[in-house]
Symmetry: C2
């Protein structure tokens, strides 16, 4: 059973107990462009108590550098090195784990964030924001030339997704031998400023369905993301806590990596998902209403 945090002493003890704090962003620190009340003060308290802070997001629409702009815009202090996104982790996976040969490239269904991270890791790609693929015109195989050097398809959230992109990816995955199928993350939805919209998992779903094949997933809850963090940051899992709003991504991710977990109820998960007859089987270590509650602990 989860511990429900409520007293200042509990929040204070929690902060004492963990040296490294990993935060999901959307639904935890902000909703779209609206900051969650108390998020900035809470981070200020953690920093004043010398905690290591990491931001671990499945958002693949932005590179870490662009995502840093979002922190700046909302007045949240963060450095690029503290930010781990699924676009970055995907690029690292392709270059360092999959070791895609230099003469091969990636076909991207996704936005500029993925392109920036691939470029940074020296991975060649086509598709993505290429205007030729941003079309609602019917796709014709007669006018399509298969690029035999495409060795992977990487699929992330893409608000410009269309039949041409899906059809091209389908061709690479069925006709280029050994072509890998990767997704930045499997979130079924994502919280926009005005409500839920279909997420990266939904964007990749036509390919899963047409191919009857599951992709390799990089973002939370997959451990690939944690491997990527481990390669850059020293932390003791026993003294690390993952804070998130989604049971099947954030909390599962923390549990899979041997971290402690704190669920906040300002995002996707509501009280009915964790209490009563239809409660999820994924049980976080701690629950609090909002990340702003940690302010009760106070600075040292």
């Amino acid at each position: 059973m989860s511990i429900r945090l409520s007293s200042p002493e509990q929040y204070d003890a929690l902060i004492d107990k963990y040296d490294t704090w990993m935060f999901d962003c959307d639904g935890v620190l902000w909703h779209g462009d609206r900051l969650i009340d108390g998020a900035i003060d809470m981070l200020h308290i953690l920093r004043s108590r010398k905690k290591t802070i990491l931001f671990v997001t499945n958002n693949a629409s932005k590179s870490r550098k662009s995502y840093k702009g979002k922190f700046d815009q909302l007045g949240v202090v963060a450095s690029v090195d503290e930010i781990f996104g699924s676009a970055y982790a995907s690029a690292v996976y392709i270059s360092s784990v999959m070791k895609l040969p230099k003469d091969k490239k990636v076909y991207v269904i996704g936005m500029s964030g993925i392109e920036e991270e691939l470029r940074e890791e020296g991975v060649s790609f086509i598709g993505g924001t290429d205007p030729a693929d941003c079309t609602v015109e019917p796709f014709s195989l007669a006018n399509f030339t298969l690029d035999p050097t495409v060795g992977a398809v990487l699929c992330g959230l893409d608000v410009h997704v269309n039949y041409t992109k899906i059809s091209k990816a389908f061709q690479y995955l069925t006709r280029n031998p050994g072509c890998q199928f990767l997704v930045t993350n499997e979130d079924s939805t994502y919280p926009s400023a005005d409500g839920l919209l279909p997420g990266a998992g939904a964007i990749s779903a036509p390919l899963r369905f047409a191919l009857d094949r599951d992709p390799i997933s990089i973002g939370k809850p997959a451990t690939t993301m944690l491997d990527c963090i481990k390669a850059k940051v020293n932390f003791d899992p026993k003294r690390t806590i993952m804070v998130g709003d989604r049971l099947n991504t954030d909390i599962l991710f923390g549990q899979g990596g041997g971290l402690s977990t704190l669920l906040v109820l300002t995002g996707i998960t509501s009280e009915k998902d964790i209490t009563g007859p239809n409660a999820s089987s994924i049980v976080p270590d701690y629950v609090t209403q909002s990340i702003g509650d940690l302010r009760a602990a106070g600075s040292p």
Copy 2:
């Protein structure tokens, strides 16, 4: 085990045995715009032997009337009453089985064929070929007005599919209480003239994934399509044969309706799918290479 047809006597006996012949079209009578060799002669033999001929297609991109144009263009004799498409069956299902109230409407992800059939059945709809939805611009909930009268989302093959269409359908299915989720058919791919492309099942996959909900499927192999045929044509299932190229749609459809089944190998299914260690568990009554083989039987 399937009977492999090869001798003129076998083809002659087969034609004798069945009064009603239901044909899938793509992959059986033609590939895209190329007629299968012998298809016209074969149909001529069946007609000269007084058989009832029906064309049962999952293709929802065309209405029956438009689909008749395809028959004409390829020189295949057919009347509109002989053609049953999944767009038509979907419209009949919505008006006659689901009985969508007259003040409600359907949000369509699909092409003009679905719109024509809905119009013919007196069902109101939005979306579909509306230019406002044919866009690769990002979708914003701030600029979206939910139409509370949308009581169903109908999804079919749509080569103009994009994030706006998927997001609007997602809004109706999550925010309009009781909104039904229908698909014309679940084909994962469809055979274009130049090769396989993602099919209607793939188009509906983002919604399935985002909603974690399976739609009601109308086309083959669902029995809804057969119910629709039964309402219009008299036939004895025992003396009816379904001819198709797909095990998991055509052959399953025939078997589900108590019909006999004939598989042709000119489409999706190849020899390795029906023979050897990886053979499908769906076993047709008869197998022949091509529908043109039936010419061996000759006219009466």
